[in-house]
Symmetry: C2
Subunit: 444 residues, 2 copies
């Protein structure tokens, strides 16, 4: 089962932070459990692994099976929380090279998460002569990036299959009743799935938002939900037996002592987009009111030869959280070389995992010695069940962390600022006054 600890804790936290923080954690915990805290309307994810819509879950599996049958590619259109969770899980459990691998499931292209014409053209080209479907994910249907992308891919579908044919290949994940995308889906007769009201984007990977693409890639979504449910049970415990309490307490205690950057590390390159998912979860939940740990990420051992120098010897304001995934899926053994020109024969016959694990331990000791507190999250295995546990664990600890920090961990008011400016500069009707003002500022 998932476990969290701070290595050589006494070096970094000599105070009895557990006792000090327990009352605040208890209060935060209760507010999460009953939805009575700041942003409490958005705690629908807390009991989701128990309360999720079973009928819809079955429809997701059926839709995934249909897409697997009639499509060689699925275009997933979404940004932020409608993008990072699914990509993180598919990269982690299938591979960052998922689209390149030989397999029986469709390719998955993540689009609408930016405004690059080159990236768009590339995927349009890759879809030439390929049967494909589209999953458009947006609570409102009017977020610029996915809405623009959807126009292109809907066009491409309708050109290829005609309006009637395209209809059966569009899946809308959106609000259950309102909004532009829901209206469109109703009018056009697209199958639709629900972004539940009480679940914000960055907490939505275990809803249809994440589950449909994940299922299309052939990952067992029952196992993923099962893992999350198991962790949900454990997180109901109002004590430090709850690993989310431990993680939230440790990072808060370190933050209060002046550590201002948290670097999430993993020793598997397949975890890169789970790191990105985590950065959104924590950065968007905590980074407000002039507060919050800065979330950064590294992929080891690659980045030991990049950010490693800084982590060992640079400004001493960082702590590190290492996610240990356990055994690799494949075991590979270092070949023997009779000449031993590289001097590596002392490793011949050893599994790669053995070397990786010693690198992990060696780094733990080195960074700790260098003054960087190291939190270790033992995540179990690289499988759907363990990843479901890890996802829920990070979500729950994030809710607790936000309340410890006395912010609303479920809003993101700052995201509107660039959007408003962008709309004005784009000439969106209703923003005329602001346009002139902003253009003047840009000229200065």
């Amino acid at each position: 089962m998932l476990d969290v600890k701070l290595f050589q804790m006494e070096t970094f936290l000599s105070e009895p932070y557990e006792d000090t923080l327990a009352p605040q954690l208890k209060s935060a915990h209760e507010r999460l459990q009953d939805g009575s805290g700041l942003g409490g309307d958005f705690t629908g994810w807390v009991h989701l692994p128990r309360d999720y819509d079973k009928a819809e879950f079955a429809r997701i599996k059926a839709a995934a099976a249909k897409i697997q049958k009639n499509s060689q590619a699925l275009v997933v259109i979404g940004i932020g929380g409608s993008y990072l969770g699914a990509r993180g899980v598919i990269d982690c459990l299938c591979s960052p090279n998922y689209n390149l691998k030989k397999k029986s499931t469709p390719n998955v292209y993540f689009m609408g998460n930016g405004l690059s014409a080159d990236a768009m053209q590339e995927v349009l080209d890759l879809l030439e002569g390929v049967d494909f479907s589209v999953n458009v994910i947006s609570k409102s249907g009017t977020t610029t990036e996915p809405a623009v992308a959807f126009r292109f891919f809907r066009d491409a579908l309708e050109k290829k299959y005609g309006k009637a044919g395209a209809k059966g290949r569009i899946y809308a994940t959106t609000d259950k009743a309102r909004g532009a995308l829901k209206s469109l889906a109703n009018e056009e007769g697209w199958e639709s799935f629900v972004v539940p009201d009480g679940v914000g984007g960055r907490y939505s990977v275990l809803t249809a938002v994440g589950l449909l693409p994940i299922a299309v890639a052939g990952i067992g979504i029952e196992e993923l939900m099962g893992g999350a449910a198991k962790m949900m049970k454990l997180c109901e415990t109002a004590s430090y037996e709850n690993p989310a309490w431990t993680y939230a307490a440790l990072r808060d205690a370190l933050y209060q002592k002046g550590w201002s950057i948290e670097v999430l590390a993993c020793y598997d390159p397949a975890f890169r987009f789970m790191l990105e998912w985590w950065k959104q979860l924590y950065g968007e939940s905590e980074g407000k009111d002039g507060k919050g740990l800065f979330p950064a990420s590294v992929e080891f051992t690659a980045d030991l030869h990049s950010m490693g120098q800084y982590m060992q010897d640079g400004t001493r304001n960082i702590f590190e959280t290492v996610v240990r995934l356990g055994a690799s899926e494949h075991q590979l053994y270092v070949p023997r070389d009779e000449d031993d020109g590289d001097g590596l024969n002392f490793l011949a016959g050893k599994p790669m995992d053995f070397i990786r694990d010693r690198a992990m331990e060696g780094t733990l000791l080195a960074h700790t010695e260098g003054g960087v507190p190291n939190l270790i999250v033992e995540a179990g295995g690289k499988d759907a069940k363990s990843l479901g546990q890890l996802i829920y664990f990070f979500e729950y600890a994030c809710g607790l962390s936000g309340y410890l920090l006395e912010v609303n961990p479920f809003d993101q008011p700052g995201v509107e600022a660039y959007k408003k400016n962008m709309f004005a500069l784009l000439g969106k009707p209703g923003y005329e006054d602001r346009k002139a003002e902003l253009e003047a500022k840009l000229k200065k």
Copy 2:
């Protein structure tokens, strides 16, 4: 031509930092130009775009042409500076989906940059039935990650082509005379290229280290070097007409005023690994002696829906450097939709680049308003020549920055710490005493 500025400078830097820093910059500049500063033995990159080995350059092109002819894939084995530059350039100029695209040039797989058995197995599988070559890059030949990977891929080559056939498919980029890999290359008769003595890993992308893989991917390495040479000329100027002076001065002035994190941003997903290259360059050059800006990166607009909230409203210790790449290679225009269900018809017929550029401006205004200083680097275009300029610009500014900070920007002593521990824990001969000591610490 490349240009750098701080938007609304008077808001963030009211002091005459230019005059204050000019004498230090002049001194740093002179030390870079004549190699008389700290780590001066490693300033071979400063005049590289002029002094590079023309005969070797021709051999690189010939080798690339040979690989393009006899291989459908090139496995590039290297870590840190022997990895990030080539990957950054290929991703940026060919696409992050380079291996997925239809093309006339070989796939390029970057290996030996970690210890994941799954990643290794995956590429071994992808090479089944594929003609391939290997470029192994290591100054010494004994760095664990690439050396382990090379054993696997050399084995695979020799099994497929026999020892004699494999010989013509292995390219070693290594020391010109010494080290395990050079000895092996001599004994086995592999074609070899040089990691010049005066060029550290993170400054080596414009040597054979980066150029061979880049050329294999079909990128014009003359144009890349030509751009770098042009920037080298400009960087010889000992004044703020030199854009590297401006960048180094601005980031130093901000650092001195308490901004401790620099976030490099780009609005093109193809730039992701150039961001990683930049993080190594700056993190490893500056992060020592308890000093240095923490280098982080974001990919916009995707990460406006992730790190955007933090950047707008979180802890106010970050500044942002935005690399503007100019026009996309492709122009795409937003399709009109008669029903306008998403309300986007005000953008119909507009190019994607137009929307992207307004997002860029809107974000600039929003983040500046939020208290985040924004440096803008106008990088010209998304082409080899502009990227060559940008690479040299960042390298030169990094050298200057290190000297302003009074560190040696060309060493990386901290990288050894984890390696020594790892060797001991792996049971490498000669490390026996340390092993027991470390294992005891791990048990505590």
